[in-house]
Subunit: 212 residues, 2 copies
């Protein structure tokens, strides 16, 4: 229904997430996008690599907005963490253990083999770190701790995605969420003796400006 170029990017993102970048063929993409083959190289003269880079950045930003939207909708920090992990586990189940992180598979595939695409994934992850750290700070985590904490929280999520997909069991994601909550409690306790209300964020945390 949308524009052809848009459909190509969306279909590619879906296929890359499930089959990886290398495992997805250009012919499969145009078939899934219901797009003419000629349009592919019309819109992406740089070929598969240009398409891959665009998909990584597009899917990365989309997922960032999805997760941060859930985060911001929660009344406090611990609820936010719980909502993100619970929601991720639910999506994993509902998609037959296919839809987890949109770029993790690509990131590992290209990390040592394709420098432009590796940089694209690194940029996406860095943006996630910045956005998450800003929210942790807004919730009262010390600036010096926020960066380390968000990396740990997202590592828990990514690792649990890996185990969840491989074992076809989303409980790993939920349990990782409980571990994430424990890490948050620790960090909050380090700055505030009363953990009861320490986790309460401002009602409308100033959304940090995107750096792009």
């Amino acid at each position: 229904m949308g524009k052809t170029r848009e459909r190509i990017v969306d279909a590619s993102a879906e296929l890359f997430r499930r089959q990886g970048y290398i495992g997805t063929g250009m012919k499969q993409i145009v078939a899934a996008a219901d797009a003419p083959f000629g349009s592919l190289y019309h819109f992406f003269p740089g070929g598969k690599e240009q398409l891959g880079a665009e998909v990584i950045r597009h899917a990365g930003r989309y997922y960032e907005e999805l997760v941060m939207g859930i985060w911001d909708a929660a009344p406090d920090l611990t609820s936010a963490i719980d909502a993100v992990f619970s929601g991720a586990a639910e999506v994993l189940r509902q998609t037959d253990y296919a839809d987890a992180c949109p770029i993790a598979t690509i990131a590992l595939e290209v990390a040592s083999t394709n420098e432009p695409l590796r940089e694209a994934t690194a940029d996406v992850f860095e943006s996630w770190f910045v956005q998450g750290a800003a929210r942790l700070e807004a919730a009262g985590i010390k600036r010096a701790d926020a960066r380390d904490l968000i990396v740990a929280l997202l590592s828990l999520l990514e690792g649990a995605f890996l185990f969840g997909r491989a074992t076809r069991d989303a409980v790993h994601v939920e349990r990782a969420g409980q571990a994430a909550a424990a890490l948050v409690r620790d960090a909050l306790g380090r700055v505030n003796g009363s953990p009861g209300r320490a986790g309460r964020t401002r009602r409308r945390p100033t959304p940090p400006r995107r750096t792009r």
Copy 2:
């Protein structure tokens, strides 16, 4: 110098870890193994899939023994966690951010596309969970907590590997190790009020029997 079949498996494991299963060709494998092409299908009549399954199980067991060996050599639980994560970060740096988890890339590639290989990765991960949980129990973690904790610790490691390779920065692995240590302290505190000696493992934790 070893037997041909052995060289093929080892070379495949190395290539799969860095380039993934799909991204590695059979011709590249025989070249790296310095093996005759005919031998490949002589030893692996099931083709690439049979080779992939064997590499997953072989590399999975090798890595398990490597990590658990480091674990068992540490004087106490928190030292063990630190040693594992620090060692992993060091290897990551020394290999130009190539050598992290030997099967994570394959696991994500095949999770939704190749059921036999997906099962192989699931078996490996499950074995890691069992071995790790047994060691946590031996260190005083309650049985009911050990399983959840080992999944969280390994999720931290796997997620940090992903970010470390993508951003070419091993500090993520070290920081994940600190978060892992915090989770362990929490779990130990839940069973023993004196965290000072609570983390002390038995000098020779009974190695749980392998289930294969």
